[in-house]
């Protein structure tokens, strides 16, 4: 579904993403995982050309993304990010309907699509449709952000640490919602995070990035069982240790 080949980004000779290649299968959720400065966000933004690659090819559904203009490409690819960026001068419905309106959908079609999406992200359409973004909680804003990203029925969804700024409970709710939604719509998703647990929870496969290159690409199980190197092993140790602590606490409580 998404093929990335030799993707490279240089800024003034500094290499941020270095000759990266991977594939994301149809309906798969791939997590790009790594610390800050590893190139994960740059890689994600090169997929919908928010950042133009210095070299390399991205194909979505077999088609080179350079065949379309940037805006045309992005209307067909859902995109969500941590700050959400809801337009404060537009209502919730207008925010969700913005890409369909750019595509010239009829107002009726936009309206019914908006209601459908609000329901999908578990916001009661009648109650939320006409609200201003400023009247929403952080979790509600991110739900609207995801609804906006999905509005024009994209096959691909790109998410850049969408739940990074939310409290743990809200984050959990939204993670569950994302799992449900991607199954329902059989979306192909690329999900950027630095959170190991989130990566293990959501990812069909995880690409661990380091210094703009691929440290390891595999399923959560593969990463846990046979980490490619010290670094990956160390990364995997943290959730393991946490899980161990939780287990022993539970055992104590039961005992």
């Amino acid at each position: 579904m998404i093929e990335v080949e030799g993707l490279t980004k240089r800024y003034d000779g500094r290499v941020v993403v270095d000759d990266l290649s991977f594939e994301v299968g149809a309906g798969e959720l791939l997590v790009l995982l790594g610390g800050s400065g590893c190139g994960k966000t740059t890689t994600l933004k090169m997929i919908n050309r928010l950042i133009e690659p210095s070299a390399g090819v991205v194909r979505i559904g077999g088609r080179d993304t350079r065949e379309l203009s940037g805006p045309e490409l992005r209307r067909g690819v859902g995109y969500g990010f941590q700050q959400v960026g809801l337009f404060p001068h537009m209502s919730v419905a207008e925010n969700v309907g913005v890409t369909p309106s750019l595509l010239g959908w009829s107002p009726d079609r936009i309206r019914s699509r908006v209601d459908q999406l609000l329901a999908l992200v578990q916001l009661e359409p009648a109650a939320f449709r006409d609200r201003a973004p400023s009247a929403l909680s952080g979790g509600e804003q991110q739900r609207v952000g995801i609804a906006r990203a999905l509005a024009a029925e994209p096959g691909v969804l790109l998410l850049d640490e969408p739940f990074g700024a939310l409290d743990p409970l809200t984050r959990d709710h939204l993670q569950q919602a994302l799992i449900r939604i991607r199954r329902e719509l059989s979306l192909t998703v690329v999900f950027v995070t630095h959170d190991m647990v989130e990566a293990l929870l959501l990812g069909d496969r995880i690409a661990v990035l380091r210094d703009g290159g691929l440290a390891q690409l595999g399923t959560p199980g593969e990463l846990l069982q046979s980490p490619a190197d010290e670094g990956v092993a160390e990364l995997m140790a943290t959730p393991r240790r946490h899980a161990g602590i939780v287990d022993s606490l539970l055992a104590d409580a039961d005992g």
Binding site: R74, R75, A149
Partner: protein
């Protein structure tokens, strides 16, 4: 002048003021908003563009207005080769200067407003698939709007206020009340002009604010209300212009006046004389700067005005050295004007209004000063006040060099205030005008120019190069005034306005009535 007379002038002045302001603000927006957008797209240009706009803003508004006249005259010279006619006084220079003046606040706020849009919203706009243009129109401009409108409101208040200064470059505005009112000590007029322009500024500001709130709250009622009102004002301004154009198929004879009482009275006398003799319509172009008025005549933008032989001799012909007698100067001026500028000297009115140094009568008697030579030894202990032009004029330089006059201090001030200043003892000597009615009423003593340094200042009627050709009957009407006004008459008429508060038009009417039965 009674209030009713002043208020009768209000619609004309207010509409002219509105025309100037709306045109300048409209052009200001049309220039500044696109420039501001362009600058945000080319960040490297921002310092240069904003810097240039700031420099424009630091030019004093009156100077900016005045500078437009020679600038446009130069441009007109260039364009006349291409068959384009450009007017260098009146509406055009005023609008040009006011437009420049409105640029900075709108430009700066456009740039600030757009630059202030949250980076996350820019990313979101790109992420949902907006083109640069859609991002500008759907996200950046709507979010920057309150800031841009704040700049527009600043510009509106500035422009409406500054438009009162458009009078000296020949554009009618509410400033006509203020300029002529200050000169003729008609404070009712000053008050009416000030209140009206303040009211206009507040009104337009409220309109823009309503429009802004309507846009922000997306209230159709507010937007409709403000846009409707604005459209009405534009229609009013435009309509008045159309009526004027339609009715001026026969262009009225334009009569110019400088910025002091005598000039207002003489302009009225010329106007009434022309309309009595010829039935032609006349148009007053009042309160023009001293050199603006000559340029306006030379280029045919006004047809007639009264100047003084000595002024032409010293400031236009730039003659130095001691002038000859009255008749010789007059003849030289006549020749020069005809040869160099094609301007016709119709005739001398009969009186001289010369710059004369004046002291309080009591001081002059106590100190036994009768002429300028007698003033020289006392001068280092005295202060002198002069009008805005005096200290840069050739006459003053001649007085300084020939007599060796050196005062303790010299102050340039408005000529109306100059008389108050000497009466109040704030200055000791002033550059009085010899026909001023206040010389007598304040008991001032004129000092004789015993070395003949100041050229004669015969009041002379000048006609534009084209007037004699188009309207020989007008020249004929004006020739009939030659030699008809002597110094006591002029002093009396000036006094009637300055001291007794009569309207210049009324004084002129009485004078012409008297002339008829003489």
């Amino acid at each position: 002048m009674p209030m009713a007379d002043e208020l009768a002038l209000l619609p004309g002045y207010a509409i002219a003021h509105l025309q100037l302001s709306l045109m300048a603000i409209g052009l200001g927006v049309a220039i500044s908003v696109p420039t501001g957008i362009w600058v945000t797209r080319n960040a490297r240009l921002e310092p240069a563009v904003l810097g240039a706009a700031s420099v424009l803003q630091t030019i004093p508004s009156l100077a900016l207005l005045a500078l437009m006249v020679p600038l446009l005259a130069g441009l007109a010279g260039l364009l006349s080769g291409l068959g384009v006619e450009l007017r260098s006084i009146g509406f055009l220079p005023a609008v040009a200067a006011l437009t420049l003046y409105s640029v900075l606040p709108i430009l700066r706020n456009t740039v600030t407003g757009i630059a202030g849009v949250d980076a996350a919203l820019i990313e979101a706009a790109r992420g949902v698939g907006m083109t640069d243009r859609q991002r500008l129109l759907r996200v950046e401009l709507p979010l920057a709007l309150p800031v841009i409108v704040a700049g527009l409101r600043t510009a509106t208040v500035w422009v409406v206020g500054t438009a009162t200064l458009a009078t000296p470059v020949g554009a009618t505005s509410l400033g006509n009340y203020i300029f002529s009112g200050l000169q003729t000590r008609n404070f009712t007029a000053v008050l009416v002009g000030s209140i009206a322009s303040a009211g206009l500024a507040i009104g337009l500001d409220a309109l823009v604010r309503t429009l802004e709130r309507g846009l922000v709250e997306r209230s159709r009622v507010r937007i409709g209300l403000a846009a409707g009102f604005l459209a009405l004002l534009c229609a009013l301004a435009l309509g008045a212009q159309l009526v004027r154009v339609a009715s001026s198929a026969q262009r009225p004879i334009a009569i110019g006046a400088k910025t002091f009482t005598e000039q207002y009275i003489l302009a009225e006398i010329l106007a009434q004389q022309v309309s009595r003799w010829t039935g032609l319509e006349t148009r007053a172009v009042q309160s023009l700067g001293s050199t603006v008025v000559f340029d306006a005549l030379r280029s045919g933008e006004i047809d007639v005005y009264v100047d003084y032989s000595g002024t032409i001799y010293a400031t236009i012909m730039k003659r130095e050295g001691l002038p000859g007698d009255r008749a010789r100067v007059l003849e030289e001026v006549r020749q020069y004007l005809a040869d160099e500028h094609g301007v016709l000297l119709v005739g001398a009115l009969g009186f001289e209004n010369t710059y004369a140094l004046a002291m309080r009568g009591r001081d002059a008697r106590e100190r036994r000063v009768g002429d300028i030579s007698g003033l020289v030894p006392l001068a280092p202990g005295l202060e002198i006040g002069g009008d805005y032009e005096f200290f840069v004029r050739a006459e003053w330089q001649a007085l300084e060099s020939v007599y060796g006059l050196r005062f303790r201090a010299q102050r340039a001030m408005d000529s109306a205030l100059m008389y108050q200043a000497i009466a109040a003892g704030e200055v000791d000597v002033i550059s009085a005008y010899s026909t001023d009615g206040r010389i007598a009423s304040l008991g001032l003593a004129l000092l004789r120019d015993d070395r003949g340094v100041v050229p004669p200042y015969d009041a002379i009627v000048l006609a534009s190069p084209g007037l004699a050709r188009r309207h020989p009957e007008v020249v004929e009407a004006l020739e009939a005034l030659a030699g008809r006004i002597d110094e006591p008459t002029m002093q009396q008429m000036n006094g009637a306005v300055d001291e007794h508060g009569l309207a210049p038009a009324e004084v002129a009417r009485r004078f012409l009535e008297g002339l008829r039965f003489r």
